[in-house]
Symmetry: C2
Subunit: 383 residues, 2 copies
């Protein structure tokens, strides 16, 4: 086992009606909040009203920044930070899914400095303080509610990158599975795919930590069991709760205890597809993972065998990859780029952007030939 440190400052409030303590919690940080949200679904499903009622009850003034995209843009981060700076907000309240909370994390460290939020990604700026951040999660997927990571896209530079810093943990996150019941089938499925992918990035991490491996398998087994049940019963609170809980556990640090690092190559490749064709994050992962596994099979055979023994009771890696692909497809996730109307003629473009972004894995980096074969597999019926 590798040395590791555990220190997660996020307080998680999980369950039905946890929002009833939101006002009290937020009021610990001041009197004026920057409310950050997306394209307005929280207005139609009633979550906005519940949040505002909590703010009113505790006398907190609210400045709003809405319109965060599902692949969040640095322009929105910078505009929201400018607003928050001008309005001298005491804290940020992020209400939404991964893109909203990730944006809010970067906003929280951008407000105190005279920089674009992108400068944290390039290394030009380093955060010194953060405006306190409280999140209300409305989509079970990325795990951002309990971790120090944020992914943002820069369209001008054609880059979608991840950033991590201990200052950007949400101080509190409110997770009411009820709030995810209005999420449609597509995004529900992408969320399940995302939590599977996070588990896999650490499964293919560096360093032997058998108990952590068991935790990772547990999370994936839970997704394999509860995921299909949920897809057939989208209004079921208990199934929503099981997936929401699993998504948080899949990237709150515990899958990394005793490991040196995850691989994260598949996420980097997926970010390229999101950037180029606006493929939803979860969907990009279900396209990349089967292709990545097929190409890397000779190098990761042992890990694949352990994985598929744990997930399907059969270590055969070829059958296992097929089963995983079928699982993703059965949820309604795409497993080939053709499902996003992207044709084979785009292969070279994709490879160019991957090379430019230096997208690759930390533990199992692909060589040029492997990368070409992987991109080929994004289109082929079967590799």
């Amino acid at each position: 086992m590798e040395n590791f440190k555990v220190n997660n400052p996020t307080t998680l409030h999980f369950g039905k009606d946890v929002i009833s303590s939101l006002g009290k919690v937020v009021s610990n940080y001041g009197k004026k909040a920057l409310l950050v949200y997306g394209k307005g679904s929280i207005r139609s499903n009633g979550i906005y009203d519940q949040v505002m009622a909590q703010m009113q009850q505790t006398g907190i003034r609210v400045v709003e920044y809405s319109g965060i995209k599902s692949n969040p843009l640095i322009e929105d981060v910078d505009a929201a930070a400018a607003l928050g700076r001008k309005e001298k907000v005491d804290m940020i309240l992020a209400v939404g899914g991964g893109s909203v909370i990730d944006s809010a994390k970067i906003i929280s460290i951008t407000i105190p400095v005279a920089h674009s939020g992108w400068d944290f990604y390039t290394g030009e700026a380093k955060p010194e303080t953060a405006i306190p951040l409280v999140s209300v999660l409305t989509l079970a997927a990325t795990g951002t509610e309990m971790n120090p990571f944020a992914v943002v896209q820069n369209e001008a530079e054609k880059k979608k990158l991840g950033y991590g810093h201990k200052l950007i943990y949400p101080l509190h996150s409110f997770l009411d599975p009820t709030y995810t019941i209005t999420v449609n089938a597509g995004y529900t499925a992408f969320g399940i795919a995302d939590l599977m992918a996070h588990s896999l990035e650490l499964w293919f991490g560096e360093g032997e930590a058998p108990l952590t491996d068991r935790f990772i398998l547990s999370i994936m087994q839970e997704a394999l069991e509860a995921g299909p049940l949920l897809m057939n019963d989208l209004n079921n609170y208990d199934l929503r709760a099981r997936i929401m809980f699993a998504a948080t556990m899949a990237l709150n640090g515990m899958t990394a205890y005793g490991k040196a690092r995850g691989d994260w190559g598949v996420h980097a490749f997926g970010h390229v597809l999101s950037l180029m064709y606006d493929v939803p994050h979860g969907a990009s992962l279900t396209i990349v993972y089967p292709a990545w596994m097929r190409v890397l099979l000779p190098r990761i055979r042992k890990r694949l065998e352990m994985l598929f023994l744990g997930l399907f009771g059969d270590p055969d890696p070829n059958k296992g990859i097929d089963k995983l692909e079928s699982f993703f497809h059965s949820l309604g996730c795409p497993v080939r780029l053709a499902e996003f109307s992207v044709g084979e003629q785009s292969r070279d473009d994709i490879l160019d952007v991957m090379r430019e972004n230096q997208s690759n894995g930390a533990v199992y980096p692909l060589n040029e030939q492997e990368m070409e074969r992987m991109v080929e597999a994004f289109f082929s019926l079967k590799s």
Copy 2:
């Protein structure tokens, strides 16, 4: 799933040589520390010298209180608190196993008040502040290094009770598996038994949380695999690390996510045996669990079947209890009171103390007849 809250303030430093940052961490809390430890094994194995070197490097003055017993006494807690109060210490540094750290937790809330530490157990006193507590763990067993619980014994009142409060989390805990290498076979085995028992108390908890159940099974599977390997190779760092990590995870809160509460009846019964016959805590649990399961079998059949399917691949509850008992015995743990030279004539005495202490489970309380049958089973060759 039940609603739950996650908020664990302990920073865990896990791995080889993590003590190298102890001085720096402790110096954040002041200049004078109360060092609490046990009967002196840390002096013979060199840990004391390493801790003192860290304190000297960072200019921290140390006041010592040693002699904490393995079943820790409230008299020691009160004497140490009086010393800490008189010496106006800024923080407490607990170096040892569960008994030392548990004692230090109660010392940390006793120093600021004019009470005996026992008053927290009876409810006569409520803590308002705590002296900052940093722990260095030398025994993998109780999980106290990352939780808000403390068990202390009151010999005058013939009681051994548990107490929990969010103020008594250690702020930092240093876990170097190297420090457990000198632990003898007996206490190594008791530690493995203890982490199994903690897992089981939550397994028999209230509330359905399937992913949490998978985590609990993962911890027990890890103990079943790594435990026997370690007993045959006590100097093996990686095996020490696996058991130390598992013991922390078994009682740091994660096995309770989504559950209303654990049962904790077996622990309460075990405390009675420790109190009456100075049976080590881990040993008391391996005596009580098989008996408890056999007596409760008709009521907990379904949970036993799920458990043994996960642990042994066979749901049969009778065979499963036998296998668990054999596992405990194979580690070198006692499974009958006779192994502590306690004869059957003590049955009524034990029952009297159990009734007086109101020892029982929260989820599956035993009725009078069940309790009698359980105590009988502490002695019988087979129930």
